[in-house]
């Protein structure tokens, strides 16, 4: 049974109460179509459980296969540095069909972030170490593709449709 090797901490991007009885961690790739499908499902799951669930997103870009995955992840980390991680995370998934530099700039402007600063951060790979650290920790935890979910630190090997995730989280809450 694969377990999360890097505990959830204040360094993570988290929605919900850190003291919630259940934490759902997703290792995801912004260009992965399966992650795109999981995105609205996770929203529904969060709504379903309300305060009983907190949600953490960690980067797992398959950059050899997805050419925009790394820069998308770095764009989200740039937004995080300005306290806008989740807005950017959501916008990236909602615009998954048109990833690329033009979109990064457009979304930065939409979130009132300095787009020139974003361009510079991407060029200097300022946020690459953060993304790589997420990836590396994920590999050691047994992440075997995207998306991979962990429920209270245990890898969820079942399907990630709404009913399966709800059932697995219900079990963790028992």
């Amino acid at each position: 049974m694969a377990k999360l090797s890097i505990a959830v901490s204040s360094k993570d991007h988290r929605q919900g109460d850190p003291a919630a009885p259940c934490t759902l961690v997703e290792y995801g790739d912004y260009q992965c179509p399966s992650c795109g499908q999981a995105y609205p499902i996770v929203k529904r799951v969060q709504k379903h459980f309300g305060k009983r669930l907190s949600f953490v997103f960690r980067n797992f870009p398959l950059s050899q296969m997805h050419r925009y995955a790394e820069s998308a992840a770095e764009t989200a980390e740039f937004a995080a540095a300005h306290d806008k991680f989740w807005q950017m995370h959501d916008l990236l998934y909602e615009n998954q069909d048109r990833l690329g530099n033009e979109l990064w700039i457009e979304l930065a402007q939409e979130l009132h972030l300095a787009s020139a600063q974003l361009t510079e951060a991407l060029e200097t790979k300022e946020f690459q170490p953060r993304v790589k650290a997420d990836f590396s920790g994920g590999v050691r935890s047994g992440v075997n593709g995207t998306p991979t979910f962990f429920i209270n630190s245990v890898r969820h090997d079942g399907s990630y449709d709404f009913a399966s995730l709800v059932e697995a989280i219900d079990q963790a809450l028992e």
Binding site: A2, S5, D29, C32, P33, S34, C35, L62, S63, Q64, M65, F135, S136, V139, R140, S141, G142, V143, N144, G145, T146, D157
Partner: protein
């Protein structure tokens, strides 16, 4: 059929890795080697085991290790698959006689006619130090391999 376990000498083989080129395990003596047997090229993309290993390759290489993927697909099939997935490690074609190398590691599924999803870590002297056979439908990830490589360094 059960897979070979730690302590066993790794059976040597010579497999076609491109339509023109062969690779022998014995050529890699002196380095740790990871053998990843898998059922077939072209399995679903985001959960694809070889695509994952391609991403983790720099970490494998930081241990000086060489990775070889092995399935019963032919060299031309491997070439197309490797190109499509931008793979940076060799894929051996266990194609003729079909599955012979997989069989020698106990990693062949007779009824199905393809390899198990089996992993082997071999030390620099050619002895298996870790092996793992995953259910065919489950991508075993890379954590076990990294742990085995770490153990080698000790």
């Amino acid at each position: 059929m059960t897979i070979l376990t730690a302590g066993t000498a790794a059976p040597d083989f010579s497999l076609r890795v491109t339509p023109e080129q062969k690779l022998s395990l014995s050529e890699l003596r002196g380095k740790p080697v990871i053998l990843a047997f898998y059922p077939a090229d072209w399995s679903p993309v985001c959960g694809d085991q070889m695509a994952l290993y391609n991403e983790v390759l720099p970490e494998f290489q930081s241990y000086g290790a060489e990775l070889i993927g092995i399935s019963v697909d032919g060299a031309w099939c491997h070439a197309a698959y490797a190109k499509d997935h931008n793979l940076h490690f060799p894929l051996g074609a266990d194609f003729e006689p079909k599955g012979a190398v997989s069989r020698s590691y106990g990693a062949y599924r007779e009824g199905d006619g393809f390899s198990e999803r089996a992993l082997f870590v071999i030390d620099k002297s050619g002895v298996i130090t870790w092996s793992y056979c995953s259910p065919v439908a489950v991508n075993p990830g890379a954590d076990g391999i990294l742990q085995a490589l770490e153990e080698l360094g000790k």
